[in-house]
């Protein structure tokens, strides 16, 4: 049995998430990923914004910071720059990271600051009752698009890659084992790493869209996702409507703290002369 208790604030339970919510699956995967990384608890800081996903750190026994809506990455940026030895992990949602906090997300990726951002993508604002979000697929229903969303959706991973994130992976709550592997890779990666995880919201997303219960949603993920290695050799027709999962992007480029340190060392050296 995996020693989850070691990382939990047991007195904060029971949690607030709905039955069948994917947040718990991500929470456990995150703990397995941290355990595998062998990073001591006190060297980890977990930062969140506002929303269902962002309740995660409340249950976790690390250095934790619960911030305001959309600003988790901005707070985490300050934290990382002030205390570089900390392993900074941001847990956030699709609304938090790509709507109200979209700007911080793309700029942190551009800057390539060393942190891992786990984005729980449930296609709606769950905490406030299922309103349309930037990742609600076009045509899908939410409480503020009761006859279908008229706007196109963001591809979070695509956005991260385009903005310069050197490590981007996507998976789903059905692929729980893969999930902790990707989170671990993100943690071990030096630079801005993004793990997008599709999480079921049976309460607010499944109901208006008639997607069934939590188990059926997980089955939907299973049947409608395609591993990137397979996707590369599959025709566009065959993979239409399917979600590509896997490590979508893995590259290396200079990390912000390193670049910054080198610059300040250079300036100091020059001033000495």
């Amino acid at each position: 049995m995996f020693p989850y208790d070691k990382y939990l604030r047991r007195d904060k339970f029971p949690h607030i998430w709905c039955t069948g919510c994917g947040c718990g699956i991500v929470l456990k995967a995150l703990l397995r990923a941290i355990e595998r990384s062998k990073i001591p608890k006190d060297d980890v800081a977990i930062v969140s914004g506002i929303g269902c996903s962002s309740r995660t750190p409340g249950y976790l026994d690390f250095n934790t910071l619960h911030t305001t809506h959309g600003r988790a990455i901005a707070f985490a940026t300050g934290l990382k720059l002030a205390k570089r030895k900390l392993k900074v992990i941001v847990v956030t949602g699709d609304g938090d990271a790509t709507a109200i906090g979209g700007n911080h997300f793309i700029h942190a990726a551009r800057r390539n600051l060393d942190m891992t951002v786990i984005i729980y993508n449930n296609y709606i604002y769950g905490m406030t009752g299922g309103q349309v979000s930037p990742t609600t697929p076009a045509g899908k229903r939410s409480t503020t698009s009761p006859h279908g969303n008229v706007e196109p959706a963001f591809d979070i991973s695509g956005l991260a890659i385009a903005a310069g994130a050197p490590f981007v992976a996507r998976t789903t709550c059905y692929h729980a084992v893969q999930l902790d592997k990707y989170i671990n890779k993100g943690i071990m990666k030096k630079g801005f790493s993004v793990v997008e995880v599709l999480t079921p919201c049976p309460t607010y997303y499944a109901r208006p869209n008639r997607l069934g219960n939590a188990v059926e949603m997980l089955e939907w993920y299973k049947n409608n996702s395609i591993q990137i290695e397979v996707a590369r050799n599959t025709s566009d027709e065959e993979k239409a409507g399917k979600i590509t999962i896997g490590i979508l992007h893995d590259s290396d480029r200079p990390e912000f703290c390193d670049v910054y340190s080198q610059l300040s060392a250079r300036v100091r050296e020059a001033n000495k002369e």
């Binding site: 406030t128 009752g129 309103q131 409480t143």
Partner: protein, 390 residues
Amino acid sequence: MIVARTGNEAMAEAMRQINPDVVAAYPITPATEVVQLFSTFVHDGTVSTQFVPAESEHSAISACVGASSAGARVMTSTSSQGLALMHEILFIAAGLRLPIVICLVNRSLSSPINIHCDHSDSLASRDSGWIQIFTENTQEAYDTTLMAVKIAEKALLPAMVTTDGFIISHGMERVELVGDAEVPKFLGERKAKTSLLDVDNPITLGALDLQDYFFEHKRSEIDAMNHVLPIIDEVQKEFGKKFGRNYNTVDEYKMDDAEVAILAMGSTGGTGKVAVDRLREQGKKVGLIRCRVYRPFPKGAMLKAVSKVKVLGIMDRADTMSTLGGHLYNECRSILYDSEERPIMKNYIYGLGGRDISIEEIEDIYAELFNIQKSGEVDKEIVYYGVRGE
């Protein structure tokens, strides 16, 4: 028509009847429902509003400013952090003299994170140039939302109507609705003097305005605020005449022969009135004053009300963080400076983060006010009521 509605539902109904041209909003607890319900009216075609589900409150109020500049009738709804995020644009809406109306559900500002009621959010926007009206119950929230559109458009200033988070926003009450056809008749159409869409008469809004004319423009905005109270009185009178429910800028309850009184805002007014009734049954001469219109501050009506009693307990659901107590307390001390006779005042900061205030607690406060009346002295001017360690 008499219906059962929560505060949020009642505000959404008012918005349906107002049928604004544009609504732009972003979800936030506990105000989300107002616009969420309204969005179903949009999607069902019950209203002809352009609805913008924006990516943040900052964007939502910015879209409102754009639409209002084009001459549209514009509304939105938010709360707490949402209003704080709008802060920058609040001043712009007022400075550009745009009559936008916000249905604001009062909720504490972070930190610590809290979703329940106090008045720190709207009071933090006190100086933004918005008209602020605090309501006591669902009926008043509904009525005031209708009136606020007319007041804002007459004054050419934006207005926020507030309800206490969860207490009013989620509490279901009996509400008397005005007939659907009556609302457009009462409000008329917004006739903006200028419009960004008037291509024959192009205008510039929000331009750089430095030492040369900024002060004059700001002075005219301040002057506009000076003229708001008569407009509110007029609209309230018209509303009362048409629909039978009468409102004042300052709500006095059993004040005529009162010896001691409490001054409060929001739903505590209602709780306090029950306490007043109970104490009156015991023959105690107590009254209650409720500050309904907070911005502009109704100096005349407030002076008249507070001058009636010997001892006044001022209940503030927020602190100014100035070491000088709450907002109402400071305003009242300020307006009383020139008065010959001043009541003895004591400030009770209460209910932060949604901590409940009961009828019994308000009765206790009245008992303390009678003790002050007897001794003629206040031991401690500012107290934090109902908090551990006081």
